[in-house]
């Protein structure tokens, strides 16, 4: 799970309940409180631009968490995540446009459609593994994107579908600060849901399937059932994130859900670190902020205006470079860096190196 090493302070777990507890030590509780307070204070200190960044991070975090559940824990690779987000966004958009449905209908509907699509995306996984599975999700992504585009063009929304802000008690949700808290709550709930799934029977079954299917089956785990469940839950979450994204932007277009988006989500869980919820969050932050960081850095350089036109291409190549860098040099991702840092301070001033023959 997101905590693997015991603490050096002499904290030993003596029962299963302790082992499963989400918050185990006082320092963890303190850190969590500080983190919560920071997040709560943030919107009152930040400008509109930084508020928007935070909202984007929260949306990305929901998507990344759902993909982490599927790929990082259940071991089922998906390159079609953008298709699920698109499905959610389009469900919300279509229901709003055609039936004028309120958000408390469209959001559950999006999640339901996502779950249904999850079954379709997941069915190939019963037979295919690894590469072939990745390819099948890729193909399904193209089908979903095509359906979205087809809807747009046949219904005359060729530039995209506009969605009004959701109304709560007759008042439209337009205030960025309100959006911040809504998205924060959604991301936090998703995190909690994932954490709880992972420390329950389901999460352990996924872990077993990822480690070795044959053994998992011998242990009495229904491979087909749990694989499909992973796809269904992950897809429902992704579609939900897509619908939230549609409401947040007020606009749905198939352009926003390119194949590149799928790859971005995969990059999030790689950069963050496979098999760690914390990693999904770190990856979401990193990948979302990277283009803005690059832009800010470029604008500091002389002749800033001359690069402005090629900013997109620069982002693109930098993204590829970062992804390669993590794959080659830091396969454990940001979480790996974090763990190493932790261990360094835990053992300080000593160092621990595995003996040479250990590998």
């Amino acid at each position: 799970m997101f905590r693997s090493t015991p603490r050096a302070s002499g904290y030993f777990r003596t029962g299963y309940a302790q082992d499963l507890a989400l918050i185990q030590t006082r320092s963890e509780a303190a850190a969590l409180t500080a983190f919560t307070l920071t997040l709560a204070a943030y919107p009152f200190l930040a400008t509109a631009f930084y508020l928007d960044l935070a909202c984007q991070v929260f949306l990305a975090a929901i998507g990344a968490l759902s993909l982490m559940l599927l790929t990082g824990y259940a071991g089922q690779v998906s390159l079609g995540h953008a298709g699920l987000l698109a499905a959610g966004a389009f469900t919300a958009g279509i229901l709003f446009r055609e039936f004028n449905a309120p958000f408390w209908v469209t959001l559950p509907a999006a999640a339901t459609i996502g779950a249904g699509l999850g079954v379709i995306f997941g069915l190939p996984s019963l037979r295919l593994r690894g590469l072939y599975l990745a390819v099948s999700t890729l193909a399904l992504y193209f089908v979903v994107a095509y359906l979205g585009g087809e809807y747009e063009s046949t219904r005359g929304f060729s530039t995209g579908i506009m969605i009004d802000a959701p109304k709560i008690g007759g008042i439209g949700l337009k205030n960025p600060r309100a959006w911040y808290f809504v998205l924060l709550a959604a991301a936090a709930l998703t995190f909690l849901l994932c954490a709880n799934l992972l420390r329950s029977r389901t999460g352990r079954a996924w872990g077993a399937i990822r480690a070795r299917e044959t053994v998992a089956e011998a242990l009495g785990i229904s491979i087909a059932g749990y694989k499909l469940l992973a796809f269904v839950i992950s897809s429902a979450m992704a579609a939900f994130a897509g619908a939230l994204f549609a409401y947040y932007r007020g606009f749905v277009s198939v352009e926003a859900f390119s194949l590149f988006l799928s790859i971005q989500y995969v990059a999030m869980i790689i950069v963050g670190g496979m098999g760690s919820l914390l990693g999904a969050l770190l990856g979401a932050v990193f990948v979302t902020l990277l283009p803005y960081a690059i832009e800010a850095a470029l604008m500091k350089l002389p002749h800033a205006q001359s690069y402005a036109g090629s900013l997109f291409a620069i982002d693109y190549s930098a993204f590829g470079l970062v992804m390669i860098g993590f794959l080659v040099f830091e396969p454990l991702g940001l979480v790996g860096v974090w763990r190493r840092l932790q261990n360094y301070f835990l053992l300080w001033p000593f160092k621990y190196r595995p003996t040479t023959g250990a590998r």
Partner: protein
Amino acid sequence: MQLVINIVVLAAIYALIACGYVLIYRVSRVLNLAHGELMMLGAYLLLTTATSFSRNAFVAITAAIVLSLVVGILVYVLLMRKMVGEMVLAAVLATVALGILLRGLMVLVWSAQQQYPGQALGLTNPALALPGGGRISTFAAAIVTATAAVYGGLFLFLQFGRWGVRMRAVGQNPLLAAQRGINLHAVYALAWGLSTLTGSVAGMLIALDSGLTDSMAVIGLKAFPAALVGGLDSLLGALAGALIVGAAEVLSIQYIDPLLSDVVPFLVLIAALVMRPWGLFGTREELDRV
């Protein structure tokens, strides 16, 4: 008649691109999702050679082909070599990342505007009338010829060439091949070089036929279903798969909806994955290896 010609041309394009996927997959079990971008890079290399040092079409094309071979080998030496022995999936994601990097760099260097290497070389592209009433553009005919030549050449090379035999050996069992003294890195590098070369030839000819933009990589991705339908480790399969995918695409454009063209190859892919994931001519046990 025209329909048949369209199918043959599209199938030739897909087949020419797909053999790059097959070569790399067969030798190293890596799926190269950057193939579309490498192919596009080949086309841009032609544009560069054409504009910078030779207006002679033959010289420019030969230079670009040699450059693309070098690019392919460099890709292996600089990046994929590090991924040998890693999880297959990590290697595939590395190629995805490479594709993104390349696409960004290409837009930076050559801009995203539509360009015509044919004009730079002073070549025209007249339509040829074929017996039976169909028409085919010169470069489309060149694509069909090139596909036949590449497949013939690859067949002879893999069947009888010293390095071809080594490549097949590595594909069958890398450990055993290495034990017998085959230089794995050299074979992998060669596979990457050849794959990039064939892809680049496809890219150049497509660019000569219909111009060059940064959306060309999509064609490369659409050729992937051809490789898989035929079986990812079979060249003959790639040819058959290309025919199936090409036919399906042309027919659905003609009779159903032109918008379908981007999605039909992937529908065929899904159908293939459901019915026969190892492909028409692929080896069956491959599935459990990945």
